[in-house]
Amino acid sequence: MSRQLSYSKAILEATDQAMALCPEVVVLGQLVDTKSGIFGTTTGLAEKYGADRVQDFPVSENLMTATAMGASLTGLRPVIAHQRLDFMLYSLDAIANWMALWRFKSNGKSAMPVTIRTIVGKGWGQGPQHSKSLHAWFAHLPGLRVAVPATAYDAKGLLLESIFSETPAIFVEGRGLYSMTDEVPEEPYRVRFGQAVIRRPGKDATLVAIGSMVPIAMRAAAILEKDGVDVEVVDPRTLTPLDRRTICDSVFKTRRLVVADPAWHSFGAAAEIVSTVAENLGDKLKAKPVRVTLPDSHTPMSMALEPEYYPDDSDIVSAVKQTLA
């Protein structure tokens, strides 16, 4: 098994296979039925499965979300897609006041198996309204699952798992990852939520990297290796549920923690991971944990500021070295 597939093609393949496996899977989103197809992740599906199952939607994000929710009550398995996470903010009422608590308030009698794909923009001057990364918001809400796949393999497996499980899922994609390839099995397969993966074993420090920080963290680990530092890179893959055990086991071994999160610093997902470790191993750490994140600032458009704004492998290298100083 060594077929390489890009992240975007893996998403397309997962959706295609889900639609083939189950006639109740429908895809809704602005322009999902066009050739460009959400950066190629839905291209061809309308032709293959028909206009009923792959539907363009008015620019009404709130209703689009609610439509998927209501449709799921009739037995459909809707997948909706937002070209940018920013656009989905119009639908937060539907998500936070309804979708997340639907099962709870029905006392477990009714479920809304909806999958919301959402893409974080980065680069080429996307600016403050086209680049927000709010996975921490979704992870703070009970009743949702949140996937932050970093590789094509995980993107495919987690998307299939999202579509065919019962708890609604927010599926956060990093646009920067789209062209990266990975070994992706051809058959439909699942990746379970709540199972982190050790991307690189190591003994000197634990580096937890979220979503699009994973490849950057791996590059940082390679650099550190040359300096004789052996970093363990943990990719949680999903934030809710969060695989706290794998993270803590790793830190128990290394006694050092760096968290790399492609999101704002304060009140973000990195804080949850640092806290989890502190709560479990706070008295065993050999160094203060470090977060590598975006600054607490909106995204500047200028190409002179973007590189400063987004953390890179050298920021991670310094952070890890800080824990070893």
Binding site: M1, S2, D52, P58, S60, N62, L63, A66, T67, A68, M69, G70, A71, S72, L73, T74, L76, D93, A94, N97, W98, R103, F104, K105, S106, N107, G108, K109, S110, A111, G121, K122, G123, W124, P142, G143, R145, Y153, L160, E161, F164, S165, E166, T167, R175, G176, L177, Y178, S179, M180, T181, D182, E183, P185, P188, R190, R199, P215, M218, R219
Partner: protein, 371 residues
Amino acid sequence: MELSHRTLSRSGHYRDLSLSDLSPALSLGLFRQMLRLRRTEEALLAEYHPAEEMRCPIHFCIGQEAVPAALSTLVRTDDFLFSHHRSHGYYFAKGAPLRELFAEIYGRETGANGGRAGSQDISHSDSHFYSGAILSGAVSIAVGAAFGFKFKKSPQVAISGFGEGATDEGAFWEAMNYSGKQKLPILFVIENNRYATFSDQLKRQADDNITERVRPFGVRATKIFGNDCALAHRTLRSAIERLRSGDGPELVEAYTYRWNSHVGPEDDGANNYRGPEEMAFWKDNCPIVLLEERLREAGLLSDAEKARMESEIAAEIAANFKFAKESPFPKAADWRAMNYEDRSPMADRLLGTAARGAFDHDQAEAKLGPY
């Protein structure tokens, strides 16, 4: 004369209720449903304080019985009904078990939602009845159910019941636009009781003209005097028939009035939002009385028959209270299980596992173009 809250409250006693197209059984059935809803609400209202056992906000619907009663005879079991916060009438309409309503608002494990939801969020999924307290939110979800029915080419319809206040929300207009465009099998039922809490419709909207507003969106819209239960039945029946033949969506705006406070039994009159003449008009035109007048004229309802109904209903209510009060409270909660479903039968059936290779991290990021 143009139907509106301004004109209505000056228009005297209503005399146009006609039973011509209703069978005697149906007429009596409508009457009984209204009476049952009224008595239930009255009983809950009376019990609310001082016992303080129903510890959740309840938006009583006394005065607004006609539409729910009419709907109750028109919806099929597999139709879906979505209600706003003033939910009891719609819960009735869908034929969901009343004792589970009582137990729910008493916060008991035997409640429709095991005491998790309460009155304003109650649902009964076996009956395909759902509700929620965020204005207009359930309207949008109902659109999704209609989407599902259309997708499956099913004759089912989605019904969404709410007040004129929900039309202030932008979410509502997305629902109009999309259901009109897609011709979805959905019935929007507005009970226009003039107020959102204490705010007059004309304080929030330039005019009392919701039906005019929705029509250009492709939604067929009718407005009626909503305390005429026979008219409500006739109007809703035609609308639902059209929907089942695929000619949706439909909106019916029924002018009606709540007799009680916005929420709970306390008097909210200190907020001075409505006058006594208005209340007098609507009490004079009580939907139950209006139907009763005709039923008696037509010799369909006797004192004895009514007394029999009253006592049946009273017995039912008493039994429901008893059930609720004797039911156990929910036990110490498993919060995780209440919020997440860990079982995944469908994924188990359709998906296998597959080995994962090593990700080659040494790749450049996609250069995100401008779009």
